[in-house]
Symmetry: C2
Subunit: 326 residues, 2 copies
């Protein structure tokens, strides 16, 4: 079996590669070839099978064709520029997040038209396809009215994925990831960075800034769950999914206050004392447009699983990023 | 004021032109120039102001720019290939219905970036953005999961329209038209053709074929209402519409049986006897994927108005297409 990961150098892409390599199989089939593609050169993993590293920009002519001519059985499409960048650079956002995705889908369609090639395609979508006002919890049938260009590009890609799947060009499934928490690494410029920061930094004895009120409610899943969604999406029986191929993934709806309570239970009051409240009206306003949580009934019924408590999300971070101990 | 109608040679485009010419004003401003554009040469109407006729294919390079450099104040974008053709010719559908629309939006954006040009843009969307299963009536917040490429292209255009409007490139509003009934003219190959045919042909003493059961429920508005939606959309205060710029228009939910009852009331049993029941399983199956009706709460609250009974829809046809008498 040949697996292609586009966007392999990103945080989820790396964790997905590691997991696939450690299992060395997908749906009971041995992985012969793993192609890791990204705009920046992906690092070579320690993999017993064949590894192909590709530096590609899907939005350039011929790049998607080059990837697809090797006929991967399963394609994970995680490549995107993030929300803040897509908002700051309108043209780049549409070029990378929309045109790049469409070129990939078109490259697959052209091979399909020739000889019936029909890979499984797992697309990383986002809860950014939704925009306020939203009722809580958001139902599976709620409309996608994004309030960012990034969310618009993801929502359009979802529509294309459904239509290309309906036409039989590929077997597509789009999974709307919750905010991934706790992200490993350093704080970044994303407005959502603090959701991870207020846990990650105190767990390492460092100060973190909380720019919003404790009452802010949001929708979370761990990196481990995100990878789990990808693998389940790659192997699930799509007959059961039917024509509505884009699914809001399960997750945990929690307020910032509930995140902090979990931190106190797991790491103690000293960790909590490292959170410094410093309100940022701009970030607080952006948060108001975000989803507080989803029913995710369909995804749960289809076997997608996420954490049930923030204690668990913190525990996953300690296990996967801190060697299992504080 | 300069008004541009793209798709002016179509049925709604012609009626919209006629109405604008007869009123010779929009929102109290005199119409100085009316530009009628279509892939087939539009006919010159009897208009006292300046008329410009343009034969254009928006999907060709430079065509949208050429239209936009004349800086129309209001743009009606009705151009599209129909559902059956978009389904039969995948590439043509995406080229005309998606790329053509995007090129138009991009042409406006480029002029906007230069000098702040920001026209009102009214986009003719469709209830085809929705796909079965649907509850009846469909709520304003119901998701768009189209089951055709045409519906996919309209749903994507809606998303682009919202994002371009949010960015301030133009003042866009998308209006999801119900099935237009009674369409004047001859039967066509659209699966929905019979909804008009079973009324139009008997009203002229001709036989019509009914391919589905009397219980089939669907969503209708007259051509006159469709034009009314366009004009209202062109003049409405968009502050009131907010960020969700795509609206399901009001209409009349009726079963085929209710259509026939109205025909009996308006034109008598003899007209009804001209309906020949000849089931077509293919058309019946297609109908199952269509919307039975909508709440259209937002559109109604914003002042969009449609017919309240099928008697009224038939009466509109008699007035507008038959000189007011049977």
């Amino acid at each position: 079996m040949h697996i292609l990961i586009i966007g392999a150098a990103g945080m989820i892409g790396r964790k997905l590669s590691e997991r696939l390599i450690s299992e060395n199989a997908l749906a009971g089939r041995k992985i012969e070839t793993l192609t890791l593609a990204d705009v920046i050169a992906p690092q070579a993993p320690a993999f017993a099978g064949k590894t192909v590293l590709e530096t590609v920009d899907l939005s350039l002519a011929g790049e998607a064709e080059r990837l697809i001519e090797t006929r991967p059985d399963v394609i994970f499409h995680l490549a995107a520029i993030v929300s803040a960048e897509a908002e700051a650079d309108f043209e780049k956002g549409y070029r990378i997040n929309l045109d790049g995705t469409r070129y990939l889908f078109e490259a697959i369609r052209r091979v399909h038209e020739k000889d019936g090639y029909r890979p499984r395609l797992v697309f990383a979508s986002s809860i950014a396809v939704f925009g306020a006002p939203m009722t809580y919890p958001v139902a599976d049938e709620f409309h996608t009215t994004p309030l960012t260009s990034y969310g618009t590009q993801k929502a359009i890609s979802e529509l294309l994925l459904s239509d290309y799947s309906r036409r039989g060009f590929f077997d597509g499934i789009g999974i709307r990831l919750p905010t991934v928490c706790i992200r490993p690494g350093k704080p970044n410029k994303a407005a959502s960075s603090f959701f991870s920061g207020i846990l990650r930094e105190p767990l390492s004895g460092q100060e973190a800034i909380l720019p919003v009120d404790d009452s802010v409610r949001h929708w979370h899943a761990s990196p481990r769950s995100a990878v789990g969604f990808m693998l389940h999406a790659a192997t699930i029986d799509l007959e059961k999914v039917g024509s509505r191929r884009n699914l809001s993934m399960p997750g945990l709806s929690a307020t910032v206050g509930e995140q902090i309570d979990a931190l106190r239970r797991v790491a103690g009051a000293k960790a909590v004392s490292l959170i410094r409240r410093e309100r940022d009206d701009n970030i607080a306003r952006i948060c108001e447009g975000w989803a507080p949580g989803f029913e995710a009934k369909r995804a749960r019924a289809l076997g997608f699983v996420a954490e049930a408590s923030f204690d668990e999300i913190i525990q996953v971070y300690i296990e996967d990023e801190m060697g299992g101990r504080l």
